[in-house]
Every structure is written in C-alpha cells, then in structure tokens.
C-alpha cells in the first residue's frame, strides 16, 4: 500500500512537472512568436517550437507552430528562397500531421502551397493550385466551422484575377464568413491555433 502510494505520488509529481514544462515552454514560444520583428526572430521561434516538439514527441501543436513560424519567414524575408522555406515547412507540418490531422493542419498545407505557387504563378497554377484547393476541401471536411479556412482561402482569392474566378467580391464573402465564425470560435486549449481575426479584419478592409 505504502509503495503504491509512493509510486503514484512520484508519477503524479513527475507528470505535473512535465506538463508545466510543456505549458511554460509553449507559453514562452508563443511570446517569442508574438514578439518576432524580423525573419531571424521568427526562425528562432520556429527552432524553439521544433525543440519542444522533438522533446515531447506526441504533441502536434509545437510542430504546427514550428511549421507556421517557419512559413512566415518566407514572407518576412523578401529574398528568401520560398521553395526551400516551403520544403522545411512541409517537413515540420508532416510531423504534426503524423500526430493529428485537422482543419488547421490542412489550412497550413494550403498556405505552404500558395507560397510556392507565388514563385511562378503562370506555370505553377496547375500543380500548386490543385494542392491548395484540395487542402481547403479537406479542411472543410475536418471542421467546416474553423474560421481560418475561409481566411486563407480569401487571402488567396483576393490575388486571383476576377477573370479566373477570384477578386475582391469573392474574397469579401469568404472573409465575412470567416469573421462570423471567429465570433463563436473557441480554441480547444490556450495553445490551440487562434490567430487570424486581425488578419481577417484587415483583409475585409482591403476588399472594400
């Protein structure tokens, strides 16, 4: 009996500690992410999330943020080799997806595909456009109420010429839907993705 209690206590203490470590790590990572001003800062945040992910092994969120922050370096640094950045993002996202596939991981797939598409739109439209469209479809299947789906779709559509089925009007509808969903959206935990509302508000202004 005594031993059992001791073991249980030890286990409990150990677990308590690990959780705290993860939580404080994520907290620190998200703060670092929010404070990142340059592509280097962002890359450092990505590396930090990757370290958490590799240490934890069974949590998709740090891999997700590692992929997201890495993806952002491709936009923050105008000289970045977007294909190279995307390869790394895909690698990280793949590890997240191996643990859990959900609307947010699919949205990330779309964002990475679009980043690669922009390198040479005319000739990459077919390949990367198809990957992006598929990702949006999968995201909607996973959780049609995730507001980021319509945000990332709108971000793409506003840059597609109206003649190709894009444009401000199309984007506006999507952003409005996204904002409506942000109104009721509850992330599953404080560390689950909740970004996008500000971008959606800004995008709506750009659609006017």
């Amino acid at each position: 009996m005594k031993q059992i209690i001791v073991i249980l206590t030890m286990l409990f203490a150990g677990q308590l500690m690990a959780q705290t470590k993860y939580e404080s790590g994520m907290q620190k990572g998200l703060e670092q992410f929010a404070a990142a001003k340059s592509a280097e800062d962002m890359a450092a945040a990505s590396a930090f999330f990757e370290r958490i992910a590799d240490a934890e092994k069974d949590k998709w969120l740090p891999y997700y943020y590692a992929a997201y922050t890495n993806h952002l370096t491709g936009w923050m640094n105008p000289k970045a080799d977007k294909d190279k950045v995307a390869e790394k993002s895909k690698d990280l996202l793949g590890k997240a997806e191996a643990l859990e596939k959900n609307a947010d991981t699919y949205c990330m797939r779309q964002m990475i595909a679009i980043q690669q598409l922009t390198v040479d739109g005319m000739s990459r439209y077919q390949t990367y456009g198809a990957i992006a469209a598929q990702a949006i479809e999968d995201a909607k299947k996973a959780d049609a109420n995730n507001p980021r789906i319509y945000l990332v779709e709108a971000q793409y559509m506003i840059n597609v010429p109206a003649a190709f089925g894009g444009g401000k009007a199309v984007a506006k509808k999507l952003v409005e839907k996204s904002l409506e969903l942000y109104g009721t959206y509850k992330p599953a935990s404080p560390f689950h993705p909740q970004w996008g509302k500000d971008q959606a508000t800004q995008l709506l202004a750009a659609c006017q």
Binding site: T9, M10, A44, R51, S123, R124, Q126, A163
Partner: protein, 744 residues
C-alpha cells in the same frame, strides 16, 4: 496505522519534492560552438538542442550558436539542418560554465538537392525542378504553334524548322529517327496521316500530358529504336474537377465531358471533335486545289483510377478518321495534274499501371495496341480531271493505289528498386508485335516483326554533387533476324548553386523504315553513337544552357547501287538556350540557338552531303505576356533558319550524280496568338486568335525536279499564312485557365 502511513507518505512526498528542487535551482551552463558541413562551409539556421529538453539555439550567419541549459550530467546534443544528416554528440555537463561543441554535418543525398542527369534532354513539366525548362502551359501559349506539341518543341535547341513534312528533325537526323512515347510505350503513328509536301499535325492534344521530355540524344536505356531523339510524354493523373466543355471555330467544333468521382479516386471522360476546312479554304486561298475538303473526326476516351497502394491505372484511347483530296500541277507536264486522295483511320489504345510493390520496389506496366489504315489513291489527270495514262513511265508511275495497314501490339514492364539513399536500379523488357501490310496496286506485301528488348539501368547518386546513369539495352527483331546491345552512360556534376555539368555517351540502334523492308529484309540496324557535354545554370525563374554534341552514324540505309546498310555520316554542333521570367516583370521569354554541321551518305546520295533537312543555323525567340487588367495574354514566336541544301540527283550510267544543287532562302516565321478570358452566360470562355507568318515572309522548304531535270519547283506551304479564331467554353466550375491549356 493510517496516521503512520500518512506520515510516511508525507516523507516520501518531501523526498520527491526535494529531488526536483535541485533541478530548479541549479546553475545554468552555456553551450557554444559552430556548425559546418564536410567541406568546411558554414551552415546557418541549424537547430542545436540538448536532447529531450527545450534548451537549444540556432546557428547564425557565421555558423555559430550559443545557448544556456539547466540540464546536467551526461547529455546528448543534437544538431539538425535541412539537407544534412542529423548529428548527435555526447557531453558531460558539470561545473564548467561554458562548454564548446562543434558540429560537422554530413550532407544528405536528397532528390531535392541532387544533380539530375540532363545531357541531351529538355524536361517540360513541374516534376523535377532542376531540369524544368518548359511547363505544360507553355505548349498552349506559344505564339503561332497552335497547340501542336511538335511545333513548340521546334522552338527548342536541336530541332530543325522543317515545314514540308511532319516529324522532329533533330541534330542532323531524319524525321523518322525521332520517336514518341506515351507513358513509356511507343506511339506508332504520332502524326496525322502524311500528305506530300505538307507537315501534318500531331495526333495528341497537349492537355493529355502533365510532362514532356524532349531528349535530343543520350537518352535512357528504357527507350530504343530512335537514332536521334525521344519525345517522352507522361499523361495526367486524375483531373482536379469534373467539367463539361465545348469549342467552336470556323475550322472545327468539339465537345467533351470529364467526370471525377466524389472521392477523387477515379475519373472518366471523353471528347469528340469535328474539323472541316471547307469554309476556311473558301476564305483563305490555298495553293493546291482541294477536290475532297479535309475533314477530321477525332474522339477519345479515358479512364483513370488510383489503386489502394498509391499506384495508378490509366486507360486512354483515341480514334481518328480523316479524309482529303488535293490536286497540284504535274511537274513533268504542266498540262497534267497530280491528284492525291487519302483516307486514314487510326485507333490508339494505351493502358498503363504503375504501382508500389513495397520494400522499395516499384512497377510500371504498359499495354498498347494501335491500328492505322491508309487508303491512298494517286492519279495523273488531264485538265478535265479525268484519269489518264501518258505512256511515259516516269509520269505514269504516279497512277497508283496504295492501301496500308500497320498494327502495333506491345507490352512493356519496368521494375524499379530503390537502393541506399536515392539511387535506383531499374530493369525490364518489352515485346512489340509490328504487323504491316501493304497493297500497291495489286501487289501485296506483309511485314510482321516480333521485336523484343531487355534493358537495365541504374541511377547512382554518389554524392549530392555527382550522379551517374549507367544502362544497357538488348534488342532483337525477328524481321531482320538481328540483335544489338546498346550501352548508355551519363554523368552529372554540380559545379555550384544551381549550376551543373553533364556528359553523356550512348549507342542507339534503329531498324530500317518499312519502305525499304518491303523490298528486302536483308538489312542490319542503323546505328548512331552520341557524345554530349553540357552546362546548365538554373535559378527558379531563369535557365541558361549550353550543349555541344558529336554524333556518328553507321549503317545508314543505301538504296543505290544496292539496298544495304553501307551509308554513314556524322553531325556536330553547339546549342544555346536562355529562358528568363525574371528580368522584365510579367514577361516570359526564351531564346534558343542551334549550330549544326552534318553530312551523310545515305539513300541515293553519291557521296557524303549535307542532308536536305539540315540547316546550319537555327534560332527561335519566344515571348509571352499576360496582362491581367484586360484578361488577355499575348504571345509571339519568331523562328529563323538559314537556307537548307537541295539536290537534283540524276542517274547517270552506273551512278547517281548531282545534276543541280543549291540552298533555299533563309526561313523566317513570326507567329502570334492572343487569348482573352471572359464569360458568356454561365460559361467561362476563352477566345483565342492566332496567325502564323505574320510578316508574310516567303518560305521555301526545298525544290522538286522534273524527271529530266529541266524544271524545278519550289516546295512552299499550301498557304503563306494560317489564321485561327475560336471560342472555348466550359461550364460548372471556373476552368478558364485550364481551357486555355486544353484548347489553345
């Protein structure tokens, strides 16, 4: 009892807590160091971490890192970097405040970074970044090419601007020396039926293919029976969406349906099109007099399905029927006419299955069957268009009926086994049964050939910077009852970022054309030996390429004094290519230049001569721009070639002599096309217009001579220019972008 155990438990609690406390209060240690690769190059952006902890850092632009850790004792430090192998080092953290630890990371051989063997081949498609020169979209938006794959390929270095017959004339090779392959199997009749002095279009719509590799030499052991060139086309997998489409122009109309299953695991579809040139010829005058207006029926069917193991089964079939008849004045007697009538039917089937067999094994199976039937009726007619006989054999030779049928049944199997890293060994075989039958007037002839080939090849990646492709091919034809073994070898070496050099060597064999085999099968193979060296510098939006080659021909077919393989020749040259999508925003252009020096003794040539299909200098300039504001793309292509030689070879006693010779005028062709995207009612629409030879330059492809050599006549296109205006529609989803692709 309870109190006691509670007390003891508390004690243990304290112990547990105490064991954590030192963990929290211990001093931190600083880890510093640098990360480099084996060549001593700095690796920035590498992630260094104390394994199992969150403590770590990233190497900066000087390759250095520095971070603090609270971990203690024996620890493992891990360095990871994209493109390099992960490295672990053990350290002991004690009281030393700063620990230095350096990493030298080995390079990881990856498909992304590794060089590709590129000597001799131009890859069009997004499959492999390093070799991509033309995307599939380019095929549709090349001005004046009218979506004919061969016409676009002619704007690449290595191909000649030959306009009087179909085929790709590559590096001093004749048109029949270039073969086309779809999903690995040979296409027996890639062009519409041949008409004298007019180049026919390719049979296949470019939209069928996701990638096209134009190889001008040194190609893989998987392909044989092509002395000069292989055009290797890979068909698309499951399309993105279902669609209904239609097209209308003065020349043709067509409709199509493509249905994709809900789970996107399979699709099927079909198209039908009808072309009739009567209305067009009524407006644009043609030089020949057409007594049967050209008409074409084309229909195709496809079925594609994904397998459970990530493979794909594809079936594609196309049916074509064409009919035309044209008259030209007879060169020996201007009072007479040559009337040529042609009816062709062609049915092509291709079934392929590629799959993963597990354990690094892959399989590619191909099954093909095609039938091609030609009914040719050639007459000498008088001014009243009645068939006559003159009594002069050199004129009366042109009174004949020729019916041909050529069938090809084939099976090809290729197996891939992945070796260590990304190296691959590949082997397989193919069996082809060619059945050719011809009836010339009432003279029947039959040419069946059981053709077998075995091949094996290895892609060896020695490092990321050095790769080799080594292969060999064995072939046997029952028709000529001869075998050959052809070795192939190429090497590629990366010289810098996006830059590489390649060399290639290969032997290529081809059996003689049926025309000669009908007379005798006592032939051997013709042989070409290729030596190629190239340099490529690639960035995402720019490509520079220079290539030099030497090609030696042996065993070319001679028709005089006897039919045999006594011919020979060679070809050498330098080719340049530059494509740039970067310098001018929104503008995409490419320039290609080919220098060719070739001579050959074949057919009835009295000695080694520059063949009539070879120009010394060929250049193309292709430019395209899409202006989003007006939803319109504008495309220009300018092609230039120096004059080609022509000869009048006359039999004089026991030999042929050159009775007359010369060079044609230089060739100029400026092609233009536009595509305007809009919508008509509920349909998305693309309006396409195109003109060839905008500047109306005079084009002469060669000369025909009368029997006595007294008269010579220039071979020119049937009309100096070709105009096209059409509308392509699609319903349901926005497919305008693809509509351009499908139909331009």
């Amino acid at each position: 009892m309870f109190a006691l155990s509670k007390q003891r438990a508390m004690k243990k609690w304290m112990v547990a807590l105490l064991s954590i406390v030192p963990f929290l209060v211990q001093a931190q240690v600083k880890l510093t160091g640098s990360v480099k690769d084996q060549k001593g190059r700095i690796l920035a952006g590498a992630n260094i971490v104390v394994k199992g902890s969150y403590d770590g850092g990233v190497s900066d632009s000087t390759g250095h890192f520095s971070f603090k850790t609270y971990e203690k004792g024996k620890q493992v430090v891990v360095a990871t970097n994209m493109g390099n192998k992960t490295m672990e080092q053990e350290i002991i953290i004690d009281t030393t405040p700063v620990i230095n630890i350096d990493f030298v990371l080995k390079e990881e051989i990856s498909e992304l970074k590794a060089v590709t063997v590129t000597a001799g081949s131009f890859e069009a498609g997004d499959k492999k970044k390093a070799a991509t020169v033309l995307s599939s979209l380019d095929v549709y938006t090349t001005g004046g090419a009218n979506a004919d794959i061969s016409a676009v390929v002619k704007t690449l270095p290595g191909a000649q601007q030959v306009g009087e017959q179909e085929g790709l004339f590559v590096r001093g090779g004749a048109g029949y020396e270039a073969k086309q392959f779809i999903d690995g199997t040979l296409v027996n009749n890639p062009f519409l039926a041949s008409v004298p002095d007019i180049a026919s279009r390719g049979r296949f719509a470019p939209a069928l293919f996701k990638g096209t590799i134009f190889s001008t030499g040194g190609y893989s052991a998987l392909y044989g029976q092509a002395l000069s060139s292989a055009l290797i086309m890979e068909s698309i997998d499951i399309p993105e969406r279902s669609e209904v489409s239609a097209s209308i122009s003065a020349l043709f109309w067509g409709a199509g349906l493509q249905k994709v299953a809900k789970n996107k695991k399979s699709s099927w579809g079909g198209n039908y099109g009808y072309t009739n040139l009567a209305a067009y010829f009524g407006i644009v005058k043609q030089k020949p007099e057409y007594f049967r207006m050209p008409q074409f029926h084309t229909a195709d069917l496809n079925f594609r399905a994904k397998t459970k193991t990530g493979g794909m089964i594809k079936y594609y079939s196309t049916f074509g029927a064409s009919d035309l008849g044209l008259r030209r004045s007879n060169i020996d007697d201007p009072a007479l006419k040559n009337a040529f009538g042609l009816h062709n039917t062609n049915w092509y089937h291709n079934l392929s299955w590629r799959d993963n067999l597990g354990n690094g094994w892959k399989m590619n199976l191909g099954l093909g069957y095609s039938i091609d039937v030609n009914k040719i009726d050639q007459q000498i007619q008088n001014q009243q268009n009645q068939k006559i006989t003159t009594g002069q054999p050199w004129i009366d030779n042109n009174n004949f009926n020729l019916n041909t049928r050529s069938d090809l049944s084939q099976f090809k199997a290729v197996f891939d086994k992945r070796l260590s890293g990304i190296s691959v060994i590949r082997f397989g075989g193919e069996y082809m049964y060619f059945y050719n039958r011809s009836t010339y007037n009432n003279f029947k002839a039959l040419l069946p050939d059981h053709f077998k080939a075995l091949f094996s090849e290895a892609d060896l990646y020695i490092t990321n910077d050095l790769a080799a492709k080594v292969g060999a091919r064995f072939e046997h034809s029952s028709l000529i009852n001869k075998a050959n073994i052809a070795p192939r070898l190429s090497l590629a070496y990366k010289t810098g970022k996006g830059a590489q050099m390649s060399i290639a060597y290969g032997e290529f064999y081809q059996k003689p054309e049926n025309t000669y085999l009908y007379n005798t099968t006592n032939f051997g193979y013709s042989k070409a030996t290729h030596y190629i060296a190239n340099y490529i510098k690639n960035t995402t939006l720019q490509t520079f390429r220079i290539e030099a080659f030497y090609k030696k021909y042996d065993g070319l077919v001679k028709t005089y004094p006897v039919l045999n393989n006594a011919g020979a020749g060679d070809a050498k040259g330098i080719e340049l290519f530059w494509r740039d999508k970067k310098t001018f925003s929104g503008l995409d252009y490419w320039i290609s230049y080919s220098y060719l020096d070739t001579k050959r003794d074949f057919l009835n040539y009295p000695k080694e001569l520059q063949p009539t299909f070879a120009a010394n200098h060929t250049a193309s300039f292709v430019m395209k721009r899409f202006i989003s504001k007006i939803n319109t793309g504008f495309n220009f292509t300018y092609s230039y070639a120096t004059g080609r030689p022509y000869y009048n070879l006359q039999q004089s006693g026991a030999q042929y002599v050159i009775a007359d010779q010369g060079k044609t005028i230089d060739y100029h062709n400026l092609g233009f096309s536009f595509n305007y995207l809009t919508s008509l009612g509920k349909a998305y629409a693309v309006i396409v217009g195109s003109v060839t030879n905008v500047l109306n330059s005079k084009q002469v492809f060669g000369y025909n001579y009368s029997y006595n050599g007294a008269r010579k006549e220039a071979i020119t296109p049937p009309a100096p220019q070709f105009f096209f205006l059409g509308v392509f529609l699609s319903w349901g989803v926005d497919r305008r972008q693809d509509a351009i692709n499908n139909n331009l």
